[in-house]
Amino acid sequence: MADDEDDIILSELNNEELVEQMHQDLYDGLKDEIEEGVNILLGRDWAPYKVLTEALVEGMRIVGIDFRDGILFVPEVLLAANAMKAGMAILRPLLIESGAPRQGRIVTGTVKGDIHDIGKNLVGMMMEGAGFEVIDLGINTDVDQFLAAIDEHKPDMLGMSALLTTTMPYMKVVIDTLKEKGIRDDMIVLVGGAPLNEDFAMAVGADAYCRDAAVAVETAKELMARKHNKLASA
């Protein structure tokens, strides 16, 4: 690769060029460059939410497509996800401060026996960006950890992720336990992960299946609005 390609000066690009370059840099997993780009856009008075959606989320969407198409593989996707995480670390406190309206609180986790977390983390970042408070329990989360977090944080929603056909049935274990304890209806339960489908979500007793992070945010907003309406009319 020619050397001059490495000498792009981000601060000299206009907004449109800069956002496009950030998509490229995210694609290439360039963490420092992403941090720099985020700071430049913020310095140009972009709202944190706009930086998140237009620069980072859109960039990750492109990465996702090329992964699906067999152009990128896991190492590249992980580098891109790490670069996004670095950008998100700058934005997170600002998003909270800028009072993106507080939509509700969600406890998330990848279920027991499963260590996949790229998708769940993406969902978490998008949720935060959209004004939800996210309490993430990480990977390999068993029912006791979910219960303890629910007890401590009294969330509006529970979001579970599973990427393995062998671990997705554990979602039912969690939901059945919530039913046993009589607290299932205290919260909205969202589930997601590549092997799941709508049918499965209904069969295990979740409120909704979320195909991707954007759907997760939309579904969460919609179900929260419904919950509020129900409370108001009750």
């Binding site: 490495d6 496009e20 420092d32 152009i71 896991v74 027991k112 062998t166 039912k172 499965f200």
Partner: protein
């Protein structure tokens, strides 16, 4: 009898079927480690091995796929790695020795589930240690061979292979080609086979007994990978251990789409593709193995199958290869990765 001796005697060997799928049928709970049953429910593990031997398997794999300290950490059982492997190998040994015919005990070694540095935290040295503890246990329990399977990362394969050599076990190594015809880390079947059978990382007298593909997505995808491996390394002993079709989620249940008839066709195609060790992975039950045994025993050697023949017999590719990664579309604004 060692695996190499059995291979010298017979053109094609039948390995076994699914561990997880069959243990779930015996009541294993989702999220729990199957490996713990080596100590907690040994009779179920005996039953599993016996069902494969009865179906005609020449090779049975121990219930130790996840019995490495890194993976066991998920279940707070990392201190039990040696013990679980030894127990697992002893159970399979017991059934194999009572079979009345030679049955090889292959000590299953799956990936750690960790990413290697710099992507993740695991170093090559630490990984070699983790695998060595597992393989010491397998060896002490009577395993004939370390069966390293479902691999996707080159560093991890090399670490496991190094551990096998250090421990003094012959080894077999198979990878999972589930992402656009490659492993999820992007390794092509031909590259993998050549790295193992003729690459500079391994001395010629320390190469694996066999290499191949296992698990992945559907039987068709794995057969395609086998074709590219036998083409790249025509002299290697190649293992083909595909899933019984693809997982279908119906309501809250998952089942595999492949019938015993499909797996019998698959076995014949695998032989024609050049594989010498054939088995099943996820979804493969004793009834599938019985059909495969019959197909192998009755097989008349045919030509290398075309993709069309594979698809006609075993269904469409679940995740077809693309050459896009070799010829990526041009991009502007691309910079060197740090």
């Amino acid at each position: 009898m060692t695996l190499a001796e059995l291979l010298a005697e017979r053109p094609v060997l039948l390995a076994d079927g699914a561990t997880g799928t069959n243990l779930f049928d015996m009541g294993l709970t989702s999220g729990d480690a199957p490996d713990m049953w080596n100590l907690e429910k040994p009779d179920n593990i005996r039953k599993l091995h016996q069902s494969f031997v009865d179906a005609g398997s020449d090779i049975i794999l121990t219930n130790t796929f996840g019995s490495n300290a890194r993976r066991l950490m998920l279940h707070k059982a990392e201190d039990q790695a040696y013990e679980l492997n030894k127990a697992g190998a002893e159970l399979a040994r017991e059934i194999a020795d009572a079979a009345g015919r030679p049955v090889v005990v292959a000590g299953s070694v799956g990936p750690t589930g960790d990413l290697f540095a710099p992507l993740g935290e695991l170093t090559a040295e630490a990984a070699v240690d983790v695998f060595a503890v597992q393989m010491e246990g397998l060896k002490a329990g009577g395993a004939d061979v370390a069966w390293i399977e479902t691999m996707s990362a080159s560093e991890e394969m090399q670490a496991a292979a190094t551990a096998a050599r250090n421990v003094g076990l012959p080894y077999v190594i198979t990878a999972s080609f589930d992402t656009a015809g490659r492993t999820m880390m992007g390794i092509k079947p031909s590259t993998f086979a050549s790295e193992m059978m003729s690459g500079p990382e391994i001395n010629d007298d320390e190469r694996p007994t066999a290499v191949g593909g296992n698990c992945g997505v559907g039987a068709s995808d794995t057969l395609l990978a086998i074709l590219s491996m036998t083409e790249a390394e025509p002299n290697a002993v190649i293992v083909c251990k595909a899933n019984a079709g693809i997982p279908v989620v119906k309501g809250e249940h998952v089942h595999y789409s492949g019938s015993p008839e499909l797996m019998a066709d698959y076995a014949g195609l695998a032989i024609n593709a050049g594989a010498r060790i054939i088995g099943g992975c996820c979804g493969t039950k004793p009834e599938h193995l019985m059909a495969m045994r019959a197909a192998i025993d009755a097989h008349i050697q045919g030509d290398r199958p075309s993709l069309d023949e594979i698809v006609a017999a075993c269904g469409p590719l679940a995740n077809p290869p693309t050459d896009k990664s070799d010829n990526p579309p041009p991009r502007k604004g691309r910079r060197r990765r740090a």
